[in-house]
């Protein structure tokens, strides 16, 4: 199949016509930007591969990205014109009036008694913890005058943090979900009061009925349904409830319990594998995403980066090799040196074949295993695993059945992973049934009328329980149901009682990280809308009604007797509280029978398709469905925003007659669903990846506005998820049933060398490029193999001496090195702020994007405006494919403002709103900007963002007043009509500098006032959030700083060097480590 065979009309439906389908007749065709080819160069979308991306079709027609200049109001009519004229004259009068007066009167409201150590206007940091799906993330929350405004990882935490290299500062990344969860603290759509049968009530009214409730506990009809939690306090309270006779069920829609069942089958009891990736030379994942989805994702990302760095934790000249076999393309698959796209159901034959190849024995009978690519992959992988005995590890994913996890345990034992690259720790709750079993049991009991009282702690089972259990009608048969949740959601409105739940930043709590380290959550603010934590509600039900702090303190005191409580809260964790290591030996794994699907080859028919359920980058399992930040952050790999969709491989789509941006009907058994289709390069053939977490019926106003609907964005894919196809459903079919344009940003902000207007010349034949320019223009991303780097000591990312005439340079270097610009170049005497981004380490996890949004008050624009190219993110992550659409190779490239020394934006601003600082930053004074957008037009990297509309308009509504509390007071909130962009977190730079200078001048620290600051003292928000430390910020005037060393590295290169912009941000070439025996992947085949 050729990529040209199908029509990928998957951009936005912007109004104007660009139907130049026939490229040959297009005026620029002879020398215009050539479509990327699978063999050469990188491409961002299938459309681009076909030469049909908007920027390829009409690069010279539009000054701005298509859609951005769409009129906001109706076209100007005469009547409209006079209307506006009148209004503007009136406004001018008003404005003159207003302008002549003082600013709005402001009040200063000091505390009546100021606590010790509290400095008004200065941020404070508190360690805290957040529990998602039964695993904790250790965090540090930034608090400004008593309100949390930003979330980072806790670098001191033994599991979450630590130094990535000896001698570097301790660091911890923060998951994008954890960072974005801060939005919910100030969400006015959160439930403000308890509901009784759907009507507003009070907690007092609830307490009045407690007596009857307690009596009910002794009867067998009393149940608790909890979302997964690792809280030891909740566990202790649960034991007391269980003693009172209450049956406890735990359910999580995205559950890792298959792993527990698998280890139970392998070892006789369930244990938890904790991989030590920093020691592994070979890492194999079977349908598993280590870097975003895994409960230990941030830790795994860090450890992976440690052994991925050249000369990292594996020693000099060594780096790990990552093999991934998976269905849905994940961040792990994108990072892999070798990736095998396989249907999820084939995980079992894959694991069996791998086991057989390592320990001897016959491979299972499956057509798929006989396919040459698969056989080769498994043979070479098995060989490498045997070679790297004791230095390799295999990890299987959440979706894979227990059999695969059992086989993985056996394989790991054969390659001596336990004790070396893998630890097994004791299961904190070994007797707990599988989540699926628990919810099934409960729903059956409810339907049979055996449940009279049901207490639901968090979760939203009406929305996310398997569809065949029909949880909603089962709940109708429960006499008294109580639902504790942050929002009054689908479950709340059909329960007898809904109680508001406190946010994790509002309540005391505790939770265990994946290794079991007990981490403490301290509240940073009183519950904004009232609310209880799960532990507090349980205590209330037990009749104690103890405050959260008391409950947590008691639990912790039992674990760490004699420890100083304040110190533990300060640190955020209990030292040495990890779960005990389990000494286990794998038993013989029985032979497994393969299903017909597992015996078949990679080609399937419609009706035999497998459907897998994939977590959402926007809402995880639906719980963040009210989070506009997450909805607008493009998905890691699809780059879609504000929707969920079905992932279909290009070939499958082609053969089944569906297209990208089609609305398709997915049918599984007797259940079916309409959902948009996204043709995802690299998606396993004949496997449909259904992203969950969309289509919430009850959603917040913000999200509805942004998604442009009367319900939450996306489609509810849980409708086709049943107990029989909980992770992988069989015998699915798809058919097209309409059109639905996804808001996709993948072709936005294109800056490919071949598309750059500045490098072409425009004549009667249209925009053309000099072939020599095309030849020497380099690719945006660079890759090299570790082997090449090792062999060729002279290899450098910038071999060719950039772009200008060498003779001219030789001339000028005598006087002033490299001063070749037409404009006056700058000399720097003090700090020279700079950044380096290592493409080898970027997993594309979006942490930096959310961190930037939170730090810099970046507005959300909504689905419709994303389609008009108006998204506002200051840092974007460009995702490039290379190779064929079926087996592409992926590179992520985070792209902030490059802070050029010879910045093209500065030269064209007519009012000096953007100007160069003496430290090399391109400053942006919003208040001076008049919105000509010349700077954005002249920016070759496309990093400037214009406020086309008043994005903060709704924040002025009375009900949204509370949301303003989230703003970072150190950053100006921008108005309509001004340009904005990444500033390298200039507020952090200024505050860091001022603090250091003041301390030196007042004698509190030694050193010179203008000298470079200690490396790492000032960190940007994106850098702090990055789990792998791929982003390094620092001062080039300090030759020993990490950023200086990285800029000097032979792997470093600048983007578009031919433009002589001298960017302060350098990229480090991505180093791959393919197995030499595997067929060569064409990498680094740019135009140079």
């Amino acid at each position: 199949m050729s990529a040209k065979d199908h029509d990928h009309d998957h951009d936005h439906d912007h109004g104007h016509d660009h139907g130049h389908d026939n490229t040959a007749s297009h005026p620029m065709a002879p020398q215009g930007p050539l479509p990327a080819t699978p063999e050469h160069g990188y491409w961002k979308s299938l459309k681009e591969l076909d030469g049909k991306a908007p920027w390829q079709l009409e690069p010279h027609i539009k000054e701005f990205e298509p859609g951005t200049d769409k009129p906001v109001i109706d076209p100007m009519s005469r009547r409209n014109f006079f209307h506006l004229m009148g209004a503007s004259m009136g406004l001018a009068g008003l404005a003159a009036n207003a302008g002549c007066r003082r600013y709005e009167k402001e009040e200063i409201v000091p505390l009546s008694r100021r606590p010790d150590g509290f400095v008004p206007g200065q941020v404070q940091y508190y360690s805290t913890t957040y529990d998602i799906g039964g695993s904790a993330h250790a965090l540090v929350a930034t608090s400004f005058e008593g309100r949390p405004i930003h979330i980072d990882g806790n670098p001191e935490h033994p599991f979450a943090g630590g130094a990535i290299q000896p001698g570097t500062k301790k660091h911890a990344g923060a998951h994008s979900f954890a960072q974005a969860a801060i939005l919910h603290v100030y969400d006015p759509d959160r439930s403000p009061s308890p509901l009784n049968k759907g009507k507003g009530s009070s907690i007092e009214a609830f307490k009045a009925g407690l007596g009857d409730l307690k009596k009910a506990f002794a009867t067998p009809g009393a149940r608790v349904l909890s979302e997964a939690t690792s809280s030891p306090t909740v566990l202790a309270l649960r034991r007391r409830l269980e003693q009172a006779g209450v049956v406890w069920h735990e359910y999580e829609p995205l559950s890792w319990d298959n792993e527990r069942l698998g280890t139970k089958a392998a070892f006789g009891r369930s244990v938890r594998p904790v991989a030590r990736l920093e020691r592994a030379e070979t890492i194999v994942t079977i349908d598993c995403d280590l870097f975003v989805e895994h409960p230990a994702s941030m830790k795994y990302s860090r450890d992976f980066a440690r052994s991925r760095r050249k000369d990292g934790s594996l020693g000099v000249g060594k780096m790990n090799r990552l093999w991934a076999a998976e269905s849905v393309m994940s961040n792990t698959g994108a990072m892999a040196d070798h990736r095998l796209g396989m249907r999820a159901e084939l995980g079992l034959p894959f694991a069996m074949a791998l086991d057989a190849a390592i320990s001897g024995g016959g491979a299972p009978n499956s057509e798929w295993l006989k396919e040459s690519k698969v056989a080769q992959f498994i043979t070479i992988l098995a060989e490498e695993l045997k070679q790297n005995t004791g230095r390799a590890v295999v990890v299987a994913g959440r979706r894979q059945p227990p059999e695969v996890h059992a086989l993985v345990a056996k394989i790991n034992q054969s390659i001596q992973a336990p004790g070396n690259t893998l630890d097994y720790v004791e299961d904190p709750d070994p007797e707990r049934p599988h989540h699926l079993q628990a919810i099934t049991q409960l729903a059956q009991d409810m339907a049979a009328g055996r449940v009279q009282t049901l207490i639901m702690l968090g979760g939203n089972p009406v929305y996310d329980a398997p569809a065949d259990l029909d949880f909603a009608s089962a709940l109708g048969k429960v006499a008294n149901s109580i639902h504790l949740s942050e929002y009054a959601d689908e479950t709340s409105v059909v329960s007898t009682w809904h109680l508001p739940k406190a946010h994790f930043l509002e309540a005391w709590g505790d939770a265990r990280t994946w290794d079991g380290t007990v981490s403490i959550a301290q509240p940073l603010i009183m519950p904004m809308f009232g609310g209880l934590s799960s532990a507090e509600l349980l205590s209330l039900l037990l009749g104690d009604e103890l405050p959260g702090e008391h409950l947590v303190k008691t639990t912790i005191a039992g674990m760490a007797p004699g420890a100083d409580w304040r110190q533990l809260v300060h640190d955020g964790f209990v030292p040495s509280s990890a779960l005990a290591t389990a000494q286990v030996t794998a038993q013989a794994v029985p032979a497994f029978n393969l299903s017909p699907g597992q015996q078949a080859g990679s080609r399937r028919k419609n009706g035999e398709l497998e459907v897998v359920f994939h977590y959402s980058s926007f809402s995880y399992d639906g719980r963040y469905a009210n989070n506009p930040w997450l909805w607008e952050t493009p998905d890691f790999l699809t780059k879609v925003t504000w929707d969920n969709y079905a992932l279909v491989s290009p070939e499958t789509a082609d053969s089944l007659g569906v297209k990208n941006d089609d609305l398709i009907t997915v049918k599984v058994g007797d259940k079916s669903l309409q959902v948009p289709c996204y043709t995802m390069p690299g998606q396993a053939k004949y496997s449909i990846g259904l992203v969950v977490g969309g289509g919430r019926e009850i959603a917040s106003r913000t999200v509805k506005t942004g998604g442009g609907r009367d319900r939450g964005p996306g489609y509810n894919t849980y409708k086709v998820r049943t107990t029989h196809g909980f992770d992988i459903a069989q015998n699915g079919s798809i058919s097209t049933s309409g059109h639905y344009a996804l808001a996709n940003v993948q072709d936005h902000w294109n800056y490919k060398p071949g598309s750059n207007k500045l490098m072409g010349y425009n004549d009667s034949a249209g925009l053309r490029f000099d072939p020599e320019v095309m030849r020497r223009a380099r690719e945006d991303v660079e890759e090299v193999t570790g082997e090449e780097l090792q062999k060729n000591k002279g290899w450098a990312a910038t071999e060719e001496k950039e772009f200008w005439d060498d003779s001219v340079e030789a001339e000028t270097e005598k006087t002033k090195a490299r001063h070749l610009s037409l404009f006056e170049e700058h000399d720097y005497t003090g700090h020279r702020w700079a950044m380096a981004i290592d493409l080898s380490l970027c997993t594309g996890c979006n942490s930096c994007m959310v961190a930037c949004q939170s730090e810099n008050n970046v507005p959300v624009v909504g689905r419709e405006q994303v389609m008009n190219n108006r998204e506002m993110h200051w840092i974007r992550i460009d995702r490039y494919f290379q190779g064929s659409p079926e087996e592409p190779h992926v590179v992520h490239q985070p792209l902030p403002c490059q802070q050029c020394e010879n910045a093209p934006c500065e030269q064209v601003c007519p009012v000096g709103a953007t100007s160069h600082s003496d430290e090399g930053l391109n400053d942006m004074a919003y208040n001076r900007c008049i919105g000509t957008r010349y700077c954005a037009n002249n920016c070759p990297y496309r990093v400037r963002r214009f406020n086309f509309l008043d994005w903060n308009k709704e924040w002025r509504e009375a009900r949204n007043k509370v949301r303003r509390l989230l703003f970072n007071p150190d950053v100006t909130v921008r108005m309509r009509g001004v340009m904005e962009k990444c500033t390298f977190c200039v507020q952090r730079i200024q505050n860091g500098k001022i603090r250091a200078k003041a301390q030196i001048r007042s004698g509190q620290r030694t050193g010179a006032v203008g000298a470079p600051l200690p490396d790492g003292e000032i960190e940007t928000a994106c850098q702090m959030a990055c789990p792998t430390e791929a982003i390094v910020f620092g001062d080039l005037s300090d030759a020993d700083s990490r950023v200086s060393k990285l800029h000097a590295d032979r792997r470093s290169y600048a983007l578009l060097p031919e433009l002589y912009t001298k960017p302060r941000n350098m990229y480090l070439t991505r180093v791959l480590n393919p197995n030499p025996k595997m067929p060569k992947v064409a990498i680094g085949e740019g135009a140079h």
Binding site: G99, C100, R101, R102, Y103, K105, E106, E107, I108, V109, P110, L111, S112, R113, R114, V119, P120, G121, Q122, S915, S917, D918, E919, L921, D923, M924, A925, Y926, N927, R928, D970, V971, T972, T983, V986, Q987, I989, Q990, N991, I994, R995, K997, A998, R1001, S1002, A1008, V1009, G1010
Partner: protein, 213 residues
Amino acid sequence: MSRFLFPEWTETLKKWVNLLVLGAPVYLVALIAYGVTPEAIRIGYQPDQPVPYSHALHAGELGIDCRYCHTTVERAAKAAVPPAATCMNCHSTVKKDSDLLLPIRQAFSENTPVKWTRVTDLPDYVYFNHMAHVNAAIGCESCHGRIDQMVKVYQAKPLTMVWCIDCHKNPAPYLRQPSKVTAMGYVFTAEDREAIMKKNDVKPPINCSTCHR
């Protein structure tokens, strides 16, 4: 009836009338233009406060150091307005029954803050940092004026961008002995300036991002 003719002598008035008619708009424009300058509008702004606290009495007559109340001025961006508790340090014994101090006593006992009106107000897109200036040996007086003589605080300086930049370009005339940053009526000496300029290595930046973030 014959046509009315202006008497001869009005001819001499004509130029004055012309001057008036032509000059009036110019005058008006000039008047308004000056009237809307920060110098005219902001200097002298003197709002009422909930408590008629007199800096002239406390800082001037009694000689209490600025930092007794504005404790954070040397280590934070804001020179925080003191909590009611600070007032009560003295006023629990001094003038403890004064009606004027009722809001302070109320704030202290009921833990409800006093709502002061901001006098020295900068636009929200300007980030001023007290710590940076005080530690570089710029005195309070340079921006706030003779606080020690103000019974009711008013804005004494224009606080305009050009006023800020003038000093950032040439800070030397405003540097004083670090021990005297809070002193009022300070007499600058040339020797001081040179020594402090050197000791503090004062090079105020004039980048946009110095104040606008």
